[in-house]
């Protein structure tokens, strides 16, 4: 049984709109100082302590090789990734939008391939196209392993 309307968290990076299913979002935070972890890829900002829980934070713009925006509010979206939590720095979180499931389509096959695994679906609202991200595929297995190592070293 599929719901015809699903809620999505709409956010902006580099002037473009992206969305994540609301069920995957835990919380939205203001920009805060993250503890840097040495010898990590540059898109990993560091780790933060959220109510006693150590959470790795990545800069999604760097992950997607986007040029930095001058007037960025820098919000952190905390998402569920299985049992883990992951913080993603984006330019700004705009609103919660309902997207009709009939307006959501799979991305064109030309986009499928290495480097675009994160692209889950394309949604449409008010004539705009929105990229719906696949949180589970933002990082590959190796990167996830490195992040876990970072948390453990940070927590230890």
């Amino acid at each position: 049984m599929t719901e015809p309307v699903q809620q999505y968290t709409l956010f902006i990076m580099g002037g473009k709109e992206f969305a994540i299913e609301i069920g995957l979002v835990v919380e939205i935070l203001q920009r805060q100082e993250a503890m840097p972890v040495p010898n990590m890829p540059d898109f990993l900002v560091g780790i933060i302590d959220l109510r006693g829980r150590v959470i790795p934070v990545i800069d999604l713009r760097k992950r997607f090789h986007m040029a930095p925006v001058a007037k960025s509010k820098d919000r952190i979206i905390i998402v569920r990734k299985g049992r883990e939590r992951l913080g993603m720095v984006v330019d700004n979180v705009m609103e919660i939008v309902p997207l009709e499931s009939k307006g959501i389509t799979a991305p064109p096959s030309i986009f499928k391939g290495p480097g675009s695994e994160y692209l889950k679906k394309i949604g449409k609202t008010g004539g705009r196209m929105i990229v719906i991200l696949d949180v589970d595929r933002l990082l590959n297995r190796e990167e996830m392993f490195m992040l876990n190592e970072a948390i453990n070293s940070g927590a230890g």
Binding site: I22, I28, E95
Partner: protein, 682 residues
Amino acid sequence: MRLLELLGSKTLAVRFGLILFAILSAGQIVAGAWYVLRERSHLEGSFNKRFDHLGALLVGVSRQPLFSFDYSPLMPFLDEMSRDSEIVAVRVYDSNRNLVAHKVKGDADSAASGMDGGVFFFPDNVARQFDVSMAGQSLGRVEIVFSAVNANSELRTLIIITPVFLGVLLLLVMFTVYRFFAKYVAAPIKSLNTGIEKVGKKDLTVYFASDREDELGETILGFNYLVEALRTYMARLSATAMDVTTAIRQMEEIFQKVGDGTNSQIESVGRMRERLSRMDLSQKDVFESAERAASLFQENLSSQLEIRASVTEIASSTDDLFKSTDIAYSAVSDMSSSSRQIADSADELAKTIEETSASVEQITSSIKLVEDHARQSAQVAADVTMTANSTGMEAVRAARDGMMNIQQEVASSSEIIQRLGTRSKDIEKILKVIKDVTEQTNLLSLNAAILAAQAGEYGKGFGVVADEIGSLAERTAMSTLEISNIVGTIQREIRDAVDSTGRGITRVEEGVSLVGRVEDALRQTLANSEKASKMAFSIERATVEQGNSIRHISKVVDRVQHMTKHVTLALKQQGNALNGLVGSAGTVRDVTEVVKKGMDEQSTGIQLISRNLELTNDMMSQVSEATFAQKKETGELIQDIVSIHDMGRRTIEIIDEMKETLTTLYAETENMQAEMKGFKLQ
């Protein structure tokens, strides 16, 4: 009724109970049937065993009688057998199927040869036949008929008792399940439901104490966490709204102060304008009186020049007179030596005297003119002095006082504007706080919306509230931006006001120095005109004196003429009265000398007056110029002040506009707070 209701309500417990009931019923029906059938087969087995046993026994016993055709020994055995209550009939047949011996109890005709008397029951009578044979040759056959009534009644009992027992068991299980559901599932879910309903009605004080470790316990824990998170968000939101309200109140106060400051600035600018126009009026007075004084001086100067010309004329006439008198004297002296010459000379003298008389008359009229002019000049000089002293000086003093006042007002206005500058800095700070708080509110509303969306159906109402708060925050942000723009405009206006106040200050300073210069020039003019006035008076006096002298001269000349006529007559008639004539001529010469001296004196006096008057005239035109320049400065100053005034007005308008914006902002925040107050947090 209650049961129907229960069935009608499709609660989980009822549905679960119904399904369980159906499964258990089916199972029990199958189990009951199976049990009864098993019992039946068991009974059938025991029947068969007994048949086999008794059959074998009967076959053994009846073998000999059948062989020997002596059937008597069979009867006791048959009697013995039929004693068994379940054996209805025993029959023995020979090889030709003739009944040779039998024992029958009751109705044994309807005996069935099989055991099938229905699904569960046996036929009432069951017959079995056994062949009796010896060495492979058939001797006959025996038949035993059993009654299955007892077994059937036993089966009947079983068929009745088993379902009853199973039914009771089913009811017991159902009751236990229902009790379990009611106690461990339905009640907690119901209380959870009421809690969620309470949350839907904005009561966030709900908390469930539970030490259960099952799924429901986890659900309750999750619910508690959700409510706790909502409560925290709400509390934070409420505090944020409070912050915003306080900030807006503070801002309103500051704007009130800014408005008051601007109003007092406008007032002081208005007062300045009034003073300036008053000053402008007195400057006009100064200018007018300076102009009047200048024209009077001009007039004076021309009179003076006329006087000078007359005096020069008089001087030359007097010179002529003096020379003539000298000549007359020498002629009279000569006359004493030559009477003929005297007589001629006397005629000549008479003629000359006549001329002199005419000249003197001319002088007299000229002197009269001079006298009039001198009087007029003195009057004018006095007028000028008075005008300069009373109106001019007063006006200059008023102008100076006005300038001083303006200087003070401008200084206080400048101070107010500086204060406005610092106030607007304060406003900027508060705006920053509001901006931060609004952003935080926006974030909180987003988080609340996420929580609401995750809470599912019950979160819908809360989601609406979160949306509303979000839009309120957005509107607040927009209002803040508007205010920020307005504050920017005000700051620009204030900067303009500061600049133009600075310009006003320099202009006022220039005006003050100009007024000082006017005052100095006017003072000098006053001193000069006083001097000129004194001079004019002394001239008037000298002229009057001169007039007297001239009149005296005229009289003398008249007398001289008269005497000369007499002398000529006497000379012609007597010719020996020369000595008296010589004396008279000497007198004439002396008088003429006096007149000449007075004339010279007058000439120098008039020259001095002329110089003084010219100097004063110069001064007057200086005053005129300075006053004109000052008037121009004052005009510019008035323009500046009017522009400051307008700016103040505009600032007030903008502040009013901003106050309106603030009021809407305040109302929106109040809305938000009211919305927040709907949530019970403690």
